[in-house]
């Protein structure tokens, strides 16, 4: 459980980064003329769509990890048991990816930024704009679903983390925890708009970077450390079994 709490916290901290990109969308989704309740519902639906996309990615990443690893269905503990070579390799790749993302948050790596922004392309974002204007009840849902797939380093980082769990369910839960972590900020954005000072957003980004860096190092450690067991028992002992 602790593990998911950490992911949730990372998501929460990271969501201050989201405010930059997705927050704009959330603001644009705007208020429903039918009252506060309808507005809240609208944003809830939007975030549900987003969450579904994240969960899907998480489950898919976890299942992929599981397919790649031959040891199907074997319970995995974060710092215990022996990991075979494939799992180690995956963990190393995922860990390195997360560290790279974290460094990018600190402004130390620029390559990934270009990669994530260049990919996907503006046509997709352009198409999404027409959804924002629609008054249809399901429009926020569709918008959230697409939004979830928008290129975002934060999402990639946690998808990598989900893949390194090597199972569909933990993968799903990882992404779900992360997605839920982003809920408060995004809902807030929808409700009160851009009240957050840029300085706070910057602090949030640093916090998110720290969380991701820590998670990345731990994941990397799982791949590198000879037995892992003696590394740490206390910190993240609650990883799903």
């Amino acid at each position: 459980m602790t593990y998911y709490l950490v992911v949730f916290a990372a998501g929460f901290a990271g969501s201050f980064h989201c405010v930059g990109m997705c927050g704009g969308f959330a603001c644009a989704l705007g208020r429903d003329p039918r009252g506060h309740g309808a507005t809240a519902l609208r944003h809830l639906i939007y975030n549900c769509g987003r969450l579904t996309s994240y969960c899907f990615m998480g489950a898919l990443a976890g299942a992929l990890g599981q397919i790649i690893c031959t040891r199907q269905g074997a319970a995995l503990t974060l710092f215990g048991g022996s990991l075979d070579a494939v799992e180690r390799a995956l963990a190393i790749v995922a860990g390195l990816l997360m560290i790279a993302m974290a460094l990018q948050f600190f402004g130390l790596l620029r390559v990934f930024h270009r990669l994530t922004v260049g990919f996907g392309g503006s046509t997709f974002a352009m198409a999404l704009r027409s959804l924002l204007a629609s008054r249809h009840h399901a429009a926020p849902l569709a918008f959230g679903v697409f939004n979830g797939f928008l290129p975002c380093p934060l999402v990639y980082a946690f998808a990598a983390e989900a893949a390194s769990t090597f199972q569909a369910l933990p993968g799903l839960l990882t992404m779900a925890a992360f997605g839920l972590g982003t809920f408060p900020a995004m809902l807030l954005m929808g409700g009160v708009g851009r009240v957050l000072a840029p300085a706070w957003r910057q602090r949030g980004v640093w916090l998110a970077g720290t969380c991701i860096l820590a998670l990345g190092l731990v994941t990397l450690g799982r791949g590198i450390a000879p037995f892992g067991a003696h590394m740490s028992h206390g910190l993240l002992a609650g990883h799903p079994a």
């Binding site: 769509g49 969960c55 899907f56 489950a59 198409a127 629609s134 399901a138 679903v145």
Partner: protein
């Protein structure tokens, strides 16, 4: 006109082909080449029909939401989460999946089902029939399984296959739209609006309503939609589309501007010199549109193969199910059948040629080269021998003074007197004498009592004496005797194919001017470039052998046939076609019409009248001979791209089909593979965008030559006709 407009996809402007999708959007009948294009079009034009456009995306989004949820549960089931004690919740989850899948299948599958039904009503089976059949089988089987409380359901297969295909088509549409971006201005000539200045007010009007004499305002960066004269402002214009000239051309007060060129930096006020639809520009647009609509032979072959393949695939799927059901449970066998149906969907085959050829046709047209159809491009790529006509093609078709023989007087004196007379002449040879005098910096003496003797020459009083310039008959009529040495050099010059002007004064013939046609400045570079591409060249001309040989020698062409009638030329071309894959004939298009028809590719330089008469299949802009090697390069690139595409599409289908029939392919993976295949074909075709632009050979005279030839009214005849 309306028939042709309907045959192009409304979104990507490519030909819709046999499997067009027709929809009414905003009260307008629109044809689309695919479902993806129809979505993309409505999204792009969302401002006017906001609701409808958004609704399509909403459908995609909801479909995605539902199918992702289904997939989530399925992944958990496959991952073995609901085993042991949790297995009792499985029936509940199955019901939940049914509830999620039903709207997803309806929402995503609707367009495919509609297309299938419409085509089936016309007695045709299309690719979407395969998808409908496959998805329908998976869905119905799973629904029955839920009702019977059976363990295995395949809702994830049904919805994910639909989702992937819809996504693939959407991506494909985005690629096609990108390809069409280049083409769009070439199809818009008649649709364009211009700003007309009337009584001080600026009104936007369709270009077809513009008449001669109207004032038109063109802002910087806009395309000039009418032919006209600048009456206010100055700027530069990019005329590449019309003349092939890639450098900006200065446009000051009184300069003529051509429709289709782009006004670069300054605002211009033009006085239109003709109707808005009678421009060469409008003609280019019309011919490009016609070129796009005609399907190439290789594409027709592909289409026929698809038409045969679809029923075959259905049969194969049935056999697969039948075979595997003997050794496996029915649901597994059915899944293999579904995989066969899905993986055989020949979407990529239909994409293989049109995208590549339309990219190339648009690219060529932007440099002023018009191609009649896609088949021409294919033939062009196979050309092994290029036959040239001489006059007006390899040569400027304009004589130049190349030698002056005298009986002892200064040649400058002879030129001066002759030019003084010829100033009053309209004859082509006379103008050559004038330009020779101008090149020599000779001041023209005044002439009086000038009289043109038809068919003989010109006589007048220059500098106080009678001077005659013309042929031998004129000299005889004037009783100017010709000296023996002069007569000999005149005979020699004539035997060489030169034209000769005798100049006489003071009761005697004093000089002989030899005039000859000169090669087009960039001809040598063009011939060399063609040779570097492995082509053989020959000159076929009706002129005298010496003249033809001289030009051929200057251009390093060894094979020369002179003194030919058009019938001879056709016969020779016919013989060449036996030994070469395809033969191209390059002519000026005025006299060579029948010969150009005889060649596999008839190339006319500077006149598009023949394109309309179907004598020439390629038309180069005035002075655009140098574009020929580039065009052949483009044609070859297109040909190899189309071949790779078809090979890929068919080969891919074949391999995947085999795997699916052997039961080694999951339907979802199969759908992902097929969607990816279409996207790959699109990407491969888009590589053609990166072909280099033509590079003009460095010939200083080229621009001047083009200017001299500019006067030729290339397309007006066609424009009047249509």
């Amino acid at each position: 006109m309306s028939a042709s407009a309907e045959s192009l996809c409304r979104h990507c402007l490519l030909p819709v082909g046999a499997r067009a999708l027709r929809q009414t959007i905003g009260g307008e009948n629109c044809a689309f080449c695919c479902y993806g294009c129809s979505i993309a079009f409505q999204v792009k034009n969302g401002r006017t029909e906001e609701w409808e456009a958004a609704w399509l995306l909403i459908r995609l989004g909801i479909g995605g939401f539902l199918s992702m949820n289904i997939m989530l549960f399925s992944l958990l089931i496959y991952g073995g989460v609901f085993t042991g004690a949790d297995a009792r919740v499985l029936p509940t989850i199955d019901v939940l999946l049914l509830i999620l899948a039903t709207p997803a299948v309806l929402i995503l599958g609707g367009p495919f089902l509609r297309e299938t039904l419409v085509e089936a009503a016309r007695g045709r089976l299309t690719a979407s029939a395969l998808i409908v059949l496959g998805v329908g089988a998976a869905y119905v089987y799973s629904a029955v399984a839920v009702a019977e409380r059976n363990a295995q359901v395949y809702f994830d297969t049904a919805t994910m296959v639909l989702m992937l295909f819809t996504l693939g088509r959407y991506l494909e549409a985005a690629g096609r739209a990108r390809a069409a971006r280049d083409l769009a201005p070439l199809l818009a000539a008649e649709r364009e609006n211009v700003v007309v200045v009337q009584d001080g007010a600026e009104i936007s009007r369709p270009v077809r309503e513009v008449e001669a004499g109207m004032l038109v305002r063109v802002r910087p960066g806009e395309r000039i939609a009418v032919d006209g004269i600048v009456v206010e402002g100055s700027s530069h214009a990019d005329e590449a589309v019309i003349t092939g000239e890639s450098r900006p051309v200065e446009k000051g007060l009184g300069a003529a501007v051509i429709a289709g060129s782009i006004n670069l930096e300054g605002s211009l006020l033009l006085r239109s010199s003709g109707g808005g639809t009678a421009t060469r520009w409008a003609q280019i647009c019309r011919s490009v549109r016609e070129a796009l609509i005609r399907r190439s032979p290789i594409q027709r072959l592909g289409d026929r193969a698809v038409a045969v393949a679809v029923p075959g695939v259905v049969l194969m799927a049935a056999l697969t199910v039948l075979y595997w059901s003997q050794s496996l449970p029915l649901d597994r066998a059915m899944l293999m059948g579904v995989a066969v149906l899905v993986v055989a969907c020949p979407c990529a085959v239909g994409l293989a040629a049109p995208l590549a050829t339309s990219l190339a046709i648009g690219r060529l047209a932007r440099h002023g080269c018009l191609v009649r159809d896609a088949a021409t491009l294919e033939a062009m790529a196979r050309v092994g021998l290029v036959a040239f006509d001489k006059t007006g093609t390899l040569t400027l078709g304009k004589p130049r003074v190349v030698a002056i023989e005298t009986d002892g007087v200064a040649s400058a004196e002879a030129l001066k007197l002759a030019a003084g007379l010829e100033r009053h002449s309209e004859h082509g040879l006379g103008r050559a004498v004038l330009s020779a005098a101008a090149e020599g910096g000779i001041d023209l003496p005044p002439a009086r009592d000038v009289r043109v003797v038809p068919g003989r020459g010109i006589v007048g009083n220059v500098g106080g004496g009678i001077v005659a310039a013309g042929n031998l008959a004129l000299m005889r009529a004037m009783c100017f005797p010709v000296g023996a040495s002069l007569a000999a050099s005149a005979r020699r010059a004539e035997a060489n194919g030169h034209s000769v002007i005798y100049v006489g004064w003071g009761g005697e013939t004093r000089a002989v001017l030899s005039l000859d046609d000169t090669p087009v400045p960039e001809a040598r570079a063009t011939i060399d470039a063609l040779r570097a591409r492995g082509l053989r060249m020959t000159v076929l001309t009706g002129d005298l052998a010496p003249a033809a040989r001289r030009v051929a020698a200057a251009l390093a062409i060894e094979d020369v046939r002179a003194g030919l009638t058009p019938e001879d030329k056709r016969a020779i071309l016919g013989r060449h076609r036996w030994s070469h894959d395809a033969v191209a004939m390059v002519g000026d298009g005025l006299n060579d019409g029948p010969v150009l028809v005889e060649a596999d590719v008839g190339i006319a330089v500077g006149t598009a009248t023949d394109l309309a008469r179907e004598t020439a299949s390629v038309v180069l802009p005035v002075g655009g001979l140098w574009l020929l090697p580039w065009i052949i390069g483009v044609a070859r690139a297109v040909s190899s791209t189309v071949r790779t595409n078809l090979l890929w599409a068919f080969g891919y289908n074949l391999v995947a089909l085999t795997l699916a029939a052997l039961g080694m392919l999951q339907p979802i993976i199969a759908a992902a593979i097929m969607a990816g295949s279409s996207v790959l074909v699109v990407l491969n075709s888009l590589r053609l965008e990166r072909l280099p632009d033509p590079v003009a050979p460095q010939v200083p005279e080229r621009v001047a030559a083009a200017d001299r030839l500019q006067a030729a009214p290339a397309l007006s005849a066609v424009a009047e006709r249509s």
